[in-house]
Symmetry: C2
Subunit: 433 residues, 2 copies
């Protein structure tokens, strides 16, 4: 039971609300407050993970014993926690929706204590999956619709759970597979992978390693940079030709170091000249959208990309500043006014026409389609578990159809977002200021 | 069972070794290959997590069913996996040891297939905890030995597991507590936290919020920047004076936005002039070692720091490039030679005298103390579970006793590390080149 996964202040605040009888309905909104450097759009993700965790947000007996030991809470509050079940309402964008800072991606309406206690879990889940999905989306845009892009991140992700969610979020964004076998099993993502340098080093020479690997595998991809990439390509040619004689096929070669743009061209030429145009060239090694763009600009040739470290930790922006703020309670719209930390007051809806978003108060109607949908009510989800593979196709379509100003991947500290407020909402913001 | 948490290539390589009968003993070393930007030292962490996971690295029946469905492996190999148990030997530095790139932090000696299959898990665990412990160590050095520093990272960490391990690693490094209640329960770390802006917003005005919070809590810390920090400090003074009359105590105030250096001084002055020197000033808000140094340089006054986002994702270096490489097998020392990716050949030991490290071959003796100790053999750990609180004291001592060249926190793309190779090892590297 994940109930104890919260910042202590959720409990100290909730305790005070409990003692004061302040448990009327309140609405909190999840949104990214400030511009995210280099991100002209976000890809919303993590909703399924969150909706699965929400009914399990409970407090076990041993959790309550631990809390009692802290000496901060009266027994009556612990009894309240013992029977805690989230009974509120959640509205959210679809997973895989293009989204922007300064608009609500999800709202929670529930008795104040409930809405408060789930904050840490909600932020932890949505911030990370949205972060990685957004990074994956950029990497796909850089690689282009023809390229195969796969997740190689498990060894550098921040834990096993992070690795699972990175595989899921990148697949949702449109990746083709992952090296993460557990993610393959849990989410039905195609798994990929062939050999490491240690395999090549385990044989007397590279050619022996290649020959053996071809013998042992139905779809071998040979890693050719353990000693010297060009010689590696020649050894791969030899192994591939021998394989053909026995009815076997070498599927591809992988380059993981050196000047990938130059080497990939050279390797492609060696393969083509050897009459092996069907052998695919994969590249990997600290890739991200910037390096893939540079690789392509310099004439690099790749059928596919393996992307690891820089995907799973979203290297250039390693955390998403998503926040969860009280926007309305029984006394009406609420708004925080600290310098540089303005929030939108009131329960809102987001309307999208093309890629221009209008944030309105809940009661208003805007142009285009409303993005926030009711997904959870009275302890149960209204939407079924996401069909990841189907949704992935839709997300790829929207990504590769982005207008140029959004698809622009060049660095930019303060991107401009196509998000406007309705005049009613704007007026409320002005009053609250 | 975490057996399926691996990159697919671990299995495809292992399958080939299995078919070829290549399962003699081999040694792999875990080390950070390249200089880590801005990190003049690392703090090794994650060993306990790894040693706990190792005996559980098994394959369940449903895992084997999944693998069978991939169509890559013969039944005999799946039978091998069904009875898989790691039976090898692990040598490692103590958790919390100061460590450097280019020296082995841990070595594994086991039948080749076993050593290979645990790679992804090993890297995932050690890379992240070492990353966060190293970041936490820098933050502590910036804050100084007198300051209280706590982990506020759960909402921005990459998952619930990452948040738990960030709390653990930062406490190991010397932090004083965490906001993460689950980490508090699991690891015995003191938990901290008081109120968020949403609490203040839930009352008609700030003073009412403060009064209520003081009434409801034994050790209240008041968040004073929801509307205006200076006015917030005055309201805190009023609430604290009223509290005194009823025998209650306000412990501190927290600032989370604005110019923290200027505001903290001003708030300190207001508290002191009001005759409340005992009220502590806490600061938080996107802090890290650079910002804490700048805060102190500009005369900021803080009793304690809450550090979140930039700690848990190690903001300036969000992944550690730790690798796990074959260094020796039945044919002798092995070494990868790709450009820029040299590894040390052979099973090694690290000897430390002061903070100068000498890496030697296993059979050599160096000066000072050997850092790698045998911690796991034949399926069982030789060292008991780490006493976190005790070890934390030792780590703090070593951190605050670092020589100036290591304690230097200024940015540096390619730090210089005090690591040398013995002449025997150097000769082996030259031969292998």
């Amino acid at each position: 039971m994940p109930g104890l996964f919260l910042d202590l202040y959720e409990l100290t605040m909730a305790y005070s609300y409990f003692r004061q009888g302040m448990d009327q309905e309140a609405t909190f909104a999840y949104f990214v407050r400030s511009p995210v450097p280099h991100r002209r759009f976000l890809l919303f993700a993590g909703l399924d993970t969150f909706l699965e965790a929400l009914p399990q947000f409970r407090f076990a007996e041993e959790d309550l014993d631990y809390l009692q030991g802290l000496g901060l809470f009266h027994r009556s509050f612990l009894d309240y926690l013992a029977s805690f079940r989230f009974s509120g309402e959640v509205w959210a964008m679809d997973e895989g929706e293009i989204a922007f800072p300064n608009e609500p991606l999800l709202t929670v309406t529930a008795p104040r204590i409930q809405a408060q206690l789930i904050e840490t879990l909600l932020l932890n889940v949505l911030n990370y999956e949205t972060l990685v999905a957004s990074k994956a989306a950029r990497i796909l845009v850089a690689a282009g619709p023809e390229a195969v892009v796969v997740d190689f991140s498990p060894r550098r992700d921040h834990g096993v759970e992070a690795a699972l969610r990175a595989a899921r979020a990148s697949f949702l964004a449109g990746f083709h597979g992952t090296s993460n076998v557990l993610a393959g099993k849990l989410y039905g993502i195609p798994v990929v992978g062939t050999m490491a340098h240690s395999y090549v080093l385990s044989f007397p020479d590279e050619l022996s390693a290649f020959r053996t690997f071809v013998e042992d595998h139905p779809h071998p991809v040979l890693l050719i940079d353990t000693y010297d990439t060009i010689q590696g390509a020649r050894n791969a040619v030899r192994a591939a030709k021998e394989a053909k004689e026995t009815g076997k096929t070498v599927v591809g070669v992988r380059l993981d170091s050196g000047d990938l743009a130059v080497l990939s061209r050279e390797v492609r030429r060696i393969l083509d000249e050897a009459g092996l145009p069907e052998i695919r060239v994969f590249v990997s090694g600290d890739l991200d959208e910037y390096r893939i763009l540079e690789f392509r600009r310099r004439g690099g040739v790749a059928w596919g990309y393996g992307v690891g470290t820089r995907l799973g930790v979203s290297w250039d922006v390693p955390a998403l500043g998503g926040v969860y703020k009280l926007v309305e309670d029984e006394k009406g719209p609420r708004m925080k006014k600290s310098p540089g930390k303005l929030t939108l007051p009131g329960k809102c809806q987001v309307w999208r026409e093309g890629f221009a978003d209008l944030v309105t108060l809940d009661e208003e109607k805007g142009p285009g389609r409303p993005l926030l949908k009711k997904v959870f009510v009275r302890g149960e989800r209204l939407v079924s578990k996401l069909e990841l593979a189907r949704r992935r196709e839709e997300v790829r379509q929207s990504l590769f159809g982005l207008p140029p100003e959004l698809a622009d991947l060049s660095p930019c500290e303060v991107p401009d977002y196509p998000v406007r407020l309705s005049s009613k909402l704007q007026a409320l913001v002005e009053v609250a200021k």
